[in-house]
């Protein structure tokens, strides 16, 4: 259940941004969460809503965009989405679709945990 810590992290940043931009009402927060962080969106939503109760804007929305895992082959530089392929359901046993190399892939995306924007007035 790391969703509570993550919700807390979102709140910390959002509060700073609200003050910095002299905003009164938070309407929405949009975040990007890489698949590798294994966040359960429903759980994060519940935690976020709980923390909102102690703010002046309890009705704010949270939009979570899940970013798929994208790998880059160290040998031929091909980028690919391992989850798109059918490697026995495993997301990391991933031979490169171009040359078959299966060790040392670089993680291009899927690890990010970012606040992209807020909507406020």
């Amino acid at each position: 259940m790391h969703e509570m810590s993550i919700a807390q992290g979102i709140m910390d940043v959002v509060k700073q941004e609200m003050t910095k931009n002299k905003m009164k009402v938070l309407l929405k927060v949009k975040i990007r969460a890489g698949k590798l962080n294994a966040i359960v969106p429903e759980a994060l939503q519940v935690c976020f809503d709980m923390l909102l109760q102690d703010t002046p804007w309890p009705g704010a929305m949270l939009e979570i965009e899940t970013i798929p895992i994208k790998l880059k082959c160290p040998k031929c530089s091909q980028e690919f989405l391992p989850e798109d392929q059918e490697y026995m359901g495993s997301i990391i046993q991933a031979p490169c679709p171009n040359c078959g190399t299966d060790i040392g892939h670089e993680i291009v995306s899927g690890k990010e945990l970012l606040i992209e924007y807020i909507e406020a007035e």
Binding site: H2, G9, E17, K111, I115, E116
Partner: protein
Amino acid sequence: MKIPVIRKILEKNEERATELRERFDKNNTLVLNLISSPGAGKTTLLVRTLSALKDQFKMGVIEGDIQTTADAERIAQTGVQTVQINTEGACHLDSNMIYAATQKMDLGGLDILFVENVGNLVCPAEFKVGEDFKIALLSIPEGDDKPEKYPLLFSEAKVLLLNKIDLLPYLDFDVEKVKRVVKTLNKDIEIFMVSAKTGQGFDEWLTWLKNRVLEKKQGK
């Protein structure tokens, strides 16, 4: 009004972790973050490691995975400086907890600081605590599919300790498969097969540790 932000959600934790890391670097203290499922053998491994090295190095332990008080006593019996963090309910350690724990420690001249994280394969991998390296432990009875299910930890760990190899003869565990899977996202990971119970395989692990301490002393 839409306000672009683009900031890391865990930036507060990372800032504090960076501060800690700078302090440890200044002291030339090697800091290792031990991560595994509950019961994989972190405490047992620590006790054996501390006992083997305590005459050579000054070490400390931040214990964040107390299941029973017996755990803390086992570590304390080695005579190594230990600080317990009360992690009741928490599923990972964060850099603030480590900061608070270090306030209670004598960090001067410390060669190695071990952090035993909460037993969990998910979020301890996301929360930096000022460590040089993450050390992942996977025990044979847990099964050989763990790295596929928890890729983040196994992609970030510098070392994978495959523990409880004394049980290999009794269980279906495909060591080669685990090695292959882990290297998909982590080509340079060091994998040591050990038994914290019998001491099997410890030479290589201890040699790795000694070499990292030397490097840290030379400010690398």
